[in-house]
């Protein structure tokens, strides 16, 4: 009989669920020996998040012996249990999570003041274990900071922005909005420069830049900010996942986000050394040399068509680009522990390539990594992009 009890109600669990809801639609629940694991993955499998609450987090933590229990459920229904966080914090004294084996329901019971009991019986589906394969400790670039720093950073970017690019040098980090080449003349470019001493920990071994989705970072920050836990960011090279993590003595949260791979290089040859790190952006605004700002632009009364027209017609852009942009998104991070015949499917998707249109996280999921990428991973044969849609059973 599964029985977990949180004696003093703490909003941390609810915040974690809320944060996971920014990733995917389903919550994977797995009570393990080392704690309760809550996980989620987005539909394109380009982002994965996992929280592990150690047994000590709970006042009582008992898990079924013998057979392992795991399930998945709609994250919305779990969120409904913890709706209106603010009032819950005042009224709920403890929260009990149990499995009702007869009815096949997961039961959340909130013990409120004045003996009030709120019971939510949530249906669930059996599922395989969801586990991303990543080894953040092998990553060269590691940063740790108070969440406030990242919150203050992302605030400069509009909510509609999908991806940001993070570049690092030995003592600075630049965060930029990622704009497709063809949109550059229309879009506003925002760049923020952070000095290394704003971070608690700032270690760079390779000066490079990665592009990833902002939405999941925001999701992580929701959690980190509410708990005040420092956020660590790990990344390596473009194309390999970026990991955001928070740790505490009783909980650990990891967000694994796919990054945009460098264009042409990795498709043609798998040698990672070919990928030259982008030159660090120049920072002419740091010095206050007046003249460097003033760049002359000619708008004399030129004959011919208006000078206000966009600098390059779209046609010209496409002829210059060596290969369709955005045909290079892949993910190598999600693997369910069973291996299935998905491999072939994934390969197919790779050769076909995603539509040559605006970068969209949907493209992440269906592609296998080139073999060189596997070196950072402990278990190579687990890189299966298995979909769980097949094994859905009620």
């Amino acid at each position: 009989m599964l029985c977990i009890c949180v004696c003093v109600y703490r909003p941390v669990l609810a915040k974690a669920i809320h944060s996971l809801s920014r990733i995917g639609d389903e919550l994977y629940v797995e009570p393990q020996d080392d704690g309760l694991a809550l996980r989620s993955v987005n539909s394109s499998r380009s982002a994965y998040a996992c929280f592990l609450f150690a047994p000590l987090f709970f006042s009582r933590y008992t898990i079924p012996s013998g057979h392992a229990f795991r399930c998945k459920m709609a994250i919305k229904s779990v969120q409904a249990v913890f709706r209106s966080l603010a009032s819950l914090e005042k009224t709920v004294e403890k929260c009990h999570i149990g499995l009702d084996e007869k009815k096949n329901r997961l039961t959340f019971t909130l013990h409120c003041k004045h003996g009030l009991l709120k019971t939510h019986n949530l249906s669930f589906q059996d599922s395989e274990s969801l586990q991303a394969v990543f080894d953040k400790d092998s990553y060269g670039n590691v940063f740790r900071s108070h969440p406030r720093l990242l919150v203050d950073t992302v605030v400069h970017f509009p909510p509609s922005l999908e991806e940001v690019t993070v570049s690092v040098s030995d003592e600075r980090m630049w965060v930029r909005n990622h704009v497709e080449e063809e949109d550059r003349s229309k879009s506003m470019l925002t760049e923020l420069c952070l000095a290394s001493d704003e971070f608690d920990h700032f270690a760079v071994t390779t000066q490079n830049s990665v592009t990833f989705c902002l939405k999941e970072l925001r999701g992580m920050l929701v959690f980190a900010e509410s708990t005040g836990l420092p956020v660590s960011m790990y990344f390596d090279e473009p194309g390999s996942p970026l990991v955001l993590s928070v740790t505490d003595s009783v909980l650990e949260g990891n967000f694994v986000l796919a990054t945009l791979s460098d264009d042409s290089n990795h498709r043609k040859n798998n040698s990672r050394r070919e990928q030259t790190p982008p030159p660090p952006p120049n920072d002419d605004f740091m010095d206050d040399d007046m003249d460097s700002y003033l760049i002359a632009m000619d708008t004399s009364i030129a004959p011919g068509p208006s000078a206000t027209r966009p600098p390059t017609p779209p046609l010209a852009v496409s002829t210059y680009s060596k290969q369709p942009a955005a045909a290079n998104h892949r993910s190598r991070l999600i693997a369910e522990e069973q291996e299935e015949e998905e491999e072939e499917e994934a390969e197919l998707a790779d050769s076909a390539g995603p539509p040559n249109k605006k970068f969209c996280s949907l493209f992440f999921g269906s592609v296998l990594p080139p073999s060189s990428q596997t070196s950072t991973q402990p278990v190579t044969n687990q890189e299966v992009l298995a979909s769980d849609s097949e094994d859905d059973e009620q």
Partner: protein, 285 residues
């Protein structure tokens, strides 16, 4: 062509941001004209934007601690840029707590108005954020389209009631009709009317007062003198345009007034110390 400006004072930055945000609510694209003394946000009344035109004038000295510019030539010491005020507004809003904000014209991947801000940090090095807002440089031969609109030869000029009150009225009327009749007389009375097949609604304002325009206000010494104070001048306008104006404004004007050219145009003016915003809504039949 060179331009660089620097704002240090928080109040100035805040004020400038509010002006730009107001503009961004009125139009998606407008022209920013820079002269040695002033900045202008201009929207010329083209059919594409519903015939609405706008003229907003700021004195640079009231906002910028440093302001340097060099126009196209010494005779035409101006710079004309087509900008998206929404982008400027968004960039400025995120740097409200900056120690200093620089605006400058730069040539990056395309001509840009770059907003660079130095943000306070705990560390010794400031955090720097830059927003590159793409702009189009407008060639000199098109400049004539962006001159100050002449004051229309209005029939009635009147002070507006509190804009918030007016907004509430217009918001409700918008649910009933697409067009609104604004009428006013020289007796300080203004009516906002809608008329549909089903319903007629009129909101009356009185004792608003009429601004004392000098002789230069209207071309022929002013029809106002000979005009019957009770006689209403009216214009039927697109209610959305009026609503946009009332909704977006964040300038908190010290004076708000309205000139009506009978059945031709409504000319709204907001004055606030150093900022003036004029907005023209053409009348529809």
């Amino acid at each position: 062509m060179k331009f660089r400006g620097k704002i240090i004072d928080v109040a100035c930055l805040n004020h400038f941001t509010r002006v730009v945000t107001t503009i961004s609510k009125l139009t998606k694209i407008c022209v920013l004209r820079l002269t040695p003394d002033n900045l202008f946000f201009v929207l010329s009344g083209k059919v594409a934007n519903g015939g609405v035109s706008m003229w907003c004038e700021l004195s640079q000295a009231n906002f910028f601690d440093e302001y340097q510019m060099e126009g196209v030539s010494s005779e035409d010491n101006e710079i004309c840029l087509e900008v998206t005020p929404e982008n400027l507004s968004r960039a400025l809003k995120t740097v409200q707590n900056a120690k200093a904000v620089k605006l400058k014209l730069t040539k990056k991947h395309c001509p840009c108005l770059t907003i660079a801000a130095e943000l306070p940090t705990l560390s010794s090095i400031s955090r720097v954020v830059t927003h590159d807002v793409p702009v189009d440089v407008i060639p000199r031969r098109l400049w004539h389209e962006f001159k100050e609109p002449s004051m229309p030869d209005f029939d009635v000029s009147i002070y507006l009631p509190p804009l918030k009150t007016m907004k509430n009225v217009v918001d409700r009327m918008k649910n009933l009709s697409n067009f609104l009749v604004m009428e006013a007389n020289l007796n300080g009375e203004m009516n906002l009317k809608i008329e549909t097949d089903l319903v007629s609604v009129t909101t009356h304002f009185k004792d608003l007062g009429n601004p004392p325009w000098g002789d230069d206000a209207s071309q022929d010494g002013g029809p106002s003198q000979s005009r019957d104070p009770e006689d209403m001048a009216q214009a039927r306008v697109d209610i959305r345009k009026l609503q946009q104006f009332l909704m977006g404004q964040q300038v908190n004007p010290s004076k708000a007034m309205c000139n009506i050219v009978h059945e031709r145009v409504v000319h709204l003016i907001l004055l606030h110390e150093d900022v003036s915003l004029q907005y023209f809504i053409p009348a529809v039949a």
